[in-house]
């Protein structure tokens, strides 16, 4: 059934095909955000449209409009104050698809292209990935190409196109698109930008990051999420050191970890400092991930909540770039940790306590207790599925399912340590990350979210990772991530501040010579433009051009091969001919005697032109 459609080389089909690709390209940007129902309807409409196209069936315009209205209505049934964007985008998607049903005149196609552009714009509301640029380029080139083809059809009224013409038009469309690049760059560099997304409302909030509480079993949904949480521009360090600290929990109530202790600690750290830059994606939380153990974060409007825990004043709703310093191979001292690190929820049963004692039996010191607990937990299976829930998930994990993720491992270990009188806490953040050798940065994804344990032994807090044995990804599509990094680094983060920086850089005195040079250049350019403008203006004002223009208005146009006199002699209107002849006579005399146009001549000529104009207007 598809065969006749593909085989036929009609321009109509080419344009239809191009429009199809354009809309699909635009749609690809939002497909992962809209509901599956809408996607299905969209696909169905497009498939039907192919059928209609082959069979030359056109749906009436008013039916399409009614269906469009229905789609809008349908989508807005799911409308809520928090989320007005998604229904709108869904409605837009369907409306753009239904356009394919109508009789395809150039108007229809232009509507489709406009809708495709809107869809593309809408996709930027959901994600600011570099793929946006790729889509934009393709849609732009294809749209220009398609519009040129439509124009070609309109002008030549041919329904087939030769390969040569086809290629020529394609070349032109690429050329036009390329020519628009400098202009876009200009706009990009100099147009004012808002530091926040324009439609910063109602977007589905990202689940990455940690809130001030962690319910057991919640991180699992994150762990399969491959969204990039942050990129860290730094030198490669060893795998064991890649712990990104975000939040510290001190209290466990049986089901969730919460954080109670505030700024009354008494710690100090030693270690070697390293400095790096983090580009954090919007997390809609307040905590900043920093490499363990954090020393300083260079960012305004942040506070230290806990030792090594940095918090912003407002939730992070746009990409954030900050420099930070951390201690490598650190030692974290605390003289006398708070009693809170020994808290045990009442829900913990005697069975659990007995098990702990059993495991740690005959231990000489804390070190050995920890060894034994770690050893015990290493027999448990790491899993993201079928996680223990219920009233007492930890004991469920230890005694029944024996499967769990980092939350269960960390919680179990912390509780066992506390039962044995070793102060301990659970730290939330990310572990690992894949290093991009091209760009020299780490990518940390939502799936890298992690919880680990810190235990206080002999005045030091030491990190233990009971679930540490789980494999860390090694292979990453390096080159695309690199594009992603560049896109974010150069384009997305380029904001008003960067513009100011650029402006300041231009004013710096050490490029004074360049500045003068630039001024001279600009001045020359200015003069040149004035010169061109004047020339153009004069040319237009030149009596002959005025004369020809006036006659043109009267529908009398000169062919190039005709002498002026010949041309004028052909004018039917007697009066007009006489006046025109008079003009030509005077003009010829000046022009062909190679004389300069004197003011009096100009006046004379303009007078005649005025009269000719009168005649033309009166007829």
């Amino acid at each position: 059934m598809l065969l006749p459609f593909i085989k036929s080389p009609k321009i109509d089909n080419i344009i239809y095909f191009l429009s199809f690709i354009i809309i699909i390209l635009a749609f690809s940007g939002i497909i992962s955000y809209i509901s599956i129902t809408i996607t299905l309807i969209f696909a169905l409409i497009l498939l039907l449209s192919i059928f209609f196209h082959i069979r030359n069936i056109y749906i009436n315009q008013w039916i399409i409009n009614i269906i469009s209205l229905f789609f809008m209505f349908y989508s807005f049934l799911g409308f809520s104050i928090e989320d007005i964007v998604l229904p709108s985008v869904e409605a837009l998607t369907l409306i753009s698809a239904i356009r394919f049903w109508g009789k395809k005149t150039w108007r229809e196609y232009f509507q489709i292209y406009l809708l495709a552009m809107l869809l593309l714009g809408a996709s930027a509301l959901f994600s600011i990935s570099w793929l946006f640029l790729v889509r934009l380029v393709f849609i732009f080139v294809l749209t220009v190409f398609s519009i040129l083809l439509i124009t070609y059809v309109k002008e030549t009224s041919q329904s087939f196109i030769e390969k040569r013409n086809f290629l020529e038009i394609l070349t032109y469309s690429i050329l036009i698109s390329t020519l628009s690049i400098p202009l876009s760059i200009f706009f990009f560099l100099f147009l004012p930008r808002t530091p926040y997304p324009l439609f910063d409302i109602g977007l589905a909030k990202s689940k990455t990051g940690f809130s001030s509480t962690v319910n057991l079993g919640t991180v699992s949904s994150i762990e399969e999420d491959r969204t990039v949480v942050m990129r860290v521009s730094m030198n490669k360090i060893s795998e064991e050191q890649l712990y990104w600290r975000m939040i510290t929990f001190d209290t466990f109530n049986g089901r969730q970890w919460i954080k109670n202790k505030h700024l009354d600690f008494n710690t100090f750290i030693t270690g070697e400092k390293i400095r790096y830059t983090i580009i954090l994606e919007p997390s809609y939380e307040n905590y900043l991930p920093v490499l363990d153990f954090p020393a300083t974060v260079y960012l305004k409007g942040i506070s230290i909540e806990y030792p090594g825990i940095f918090k912003t004043d407002s939730s992070i709703e746009r990409q954030l770039k900050y420099n930070a310093e951390s201690y490598m191979n650190f030692t974290l001292y605390e003289v006398e940790p708070s009693k809170i690190y020994l808290q045990i929820p009442k829900i913990i049963s005697e069975k659990f306590k007995a098990l702990t004692d059993e495991i740690t039996n005959h231990s000489k010191d804390e070190r050995e207790i920890i060894e034994k607990i770690l050893n015990f937990l290493s027999n448990y299976e790491y899993s993201l599925k079928i996680l223990p829930k219920g009233d007492n998930p930890v004991e469920d994990f230890i005694f029944n399912t024996k499967k769990g993720n980092c939350e269960y491992f960390a919680t179990s270990m912390a509780l066992m340590l506390r039962l044995k009188g070793i102060p301990s806490r659970v730290v939330g953040g990310f572990r690992g990350g894949s290093y991009n050798n091209f760009g020299g940065y780490y990518i940390v994804r939502a799936s890298d979210a992690h919880l680990w344990v810190e235990a206080w032994i002999k005045g030091q807090w030491i990190r233990f990772d009971p679930s540490g044995s789980r494999p860390i990804r090694v292979s990453e599509p390096v080159i695309f991530n690199f594009f992603d990094y560049l896109w974010n680094h150069i384009v997305i983060n380029y904001d008003f501040k960067a513009q100011l920086k650029l402006a300041k850089a231009l004013k710096q005195p050490d490029i004074k010579f360049n500045k003068n040079f630039l001024i001279i250049l600009l001045f020359l350019l200015f003069l040149f433009l004035i010169f061109i403008g004047l020339k153009f203006y004069n040319k237009k004002k030149e009596p002959l051009n005025r004369f020809l223009n006036i006659l043109k208005k009267a529908g009398i146009e000169r062919k190039n091969n005709l002498g002026l006199e010949e041309f004028v002699m052909n004018i039917d209107n007697h009066l007009l001919r006489e006046k025109s002849l008079r003009f030509v006579e005077i003009y010829y005399k000046i022009y062909f005697k190679d004389e300069k146009l004197k003011k009096s001549d100009l006046k004379n000529l303009n007078k005649i032109l005025g009269e000719i104009d009168e005649i033309v207007k009166s007829t």
Partner: protein, 309 residues
């Protein structure tokens, strides 16, 4: 064509000639253009359409001497140039000038003369001098040849080669007179008698003066460039075997100037050139395909180049 002639002197001459040459207005004007451009004219036409009358009338009206050469295939060069005859009394050779020693020379049926005679004539036309027995005689001034040839008589003719046709500034045909003019001719009878009694309206010095004035007429580089474009186009046109020569270009400028003078202007405008080109150029080109009309080809080329300004 007459409506464009604005110069009063010329207008007088034309009107004067028209009184006895009915319906030959165009031929008269073109002949005058040729005379004042110091060029010669070739009239290709059927017999009995008044070629001779035109020549006689011109000579009378312009107060010029008139000579006539009727070409046949036994015509010798000396029959044109004249020859030296031994004078018994003086014991010397006296030069007896031939009919070419006149201001206006009518060479009738030039294509009947042998090539040898033709070249002698054409050489005289080009050099404005005649060499007989090693002595050079200058031809009178102004000197103007009206040659005629018969287009349909091919038997016993020696067609002029293009190189020699190039020496004629204009090639025209008189054509049949209009019905009114023809009726007038029939009513009055042949007016050859009248022709010989036609009074002169201008004298030799005046003609030379006008000729000099015409040479001074201003021609802008804009026009010259345009003419050059035109000539170049004829050379590269694929219908044409032999394009226009530089001499052709010169002929165009000379006749254009004369045309401008006739129109009472002291500068050349494109129309002056365009109007004269169909008479100056067609006989100077050779087409690859004889079935085409030379004039049509020239006009089509002219249509392709844009006219200044």
């Amino acid at each position: 064509m007459i409506e464009k002639v604005k110069n009063q002197k010329i207008l007088n001459i034309v009107n004067h000639l028209q009184s006895c040459l009915h319906g030959k207005e165009k031929a008269i004007i073109l002949s005058l253009i040729s005379i004042f451009s110091k060029g010669h004219i070739l009239i290709e036409d059927l017999p009995g359409l008044g070629k001779t009358s035109l020549a006689i009338a011109l000579s009378r009206a312009l107060a010029l001497s008139f000579g006539r050469i009727q070409c046949t295939n036994d015509l010798l060069p000396t029959d044109i140039t004249g020859l030296s005859i031994y004078n018994k009394n003086t014991g010397e050779f006296d030069f007896k000038p031939g009919p070419i020693f006149n201001n206006i020379v009518l060479v009738d049926e030039i294509n009947r003369a042998t090539p040898k005679t033709q070249s002698a004539l054409l050489e005289a036309m080009a050099e404005e001098q005649v060499t007989v027995d090693g002595k050079t005689y200058r031809l009178p001034k102004p000197f103007f040849v009206i040659a005629t040839q018969n287009p349909i008589e091919f038997y016993g003719t020696f067609p002029l080669p293009e190189g020699q046709l190039d020496r004629f500034m204009l090639k025209i045909s008189i054509g049949y007179p209009g019905q009114d003019a023809e009726r007038e001719i029939l009513r009055r009878g042949s007016s050859r008698e009248d022709l010989y009694t036609l009074e002169s309206i201008i004298d030799k010095d005046e003609i030379i003066k006008i000729q000099d004035e015409i040479r001074k007429i201003y021609i802008s580089d804009k026009i010259i460039n345009w003419i050059l474009d035109f000539i170049e186009s004829t050379r590269i046109d694929n219908r044409i075997l032999l394009g226009l020569s530089t001499r052709a270009g010169l002929a165009i400028t000379y006749t254009s100037k004369t045309n401008a003078y006739f129109r009472d202007r002291d500068y050349v405008v494109p129309e002056d050139v365009k109007d004269i080109i169909p008479y100056v150029t067609p006989h100077r080109i050779i087409l690859k395909d004889d079935s085409l009309s030379k004039e049509e080809v020239i006009l089509s080329i002219l249509e392709k180049i844009s006219t200044p300004p």
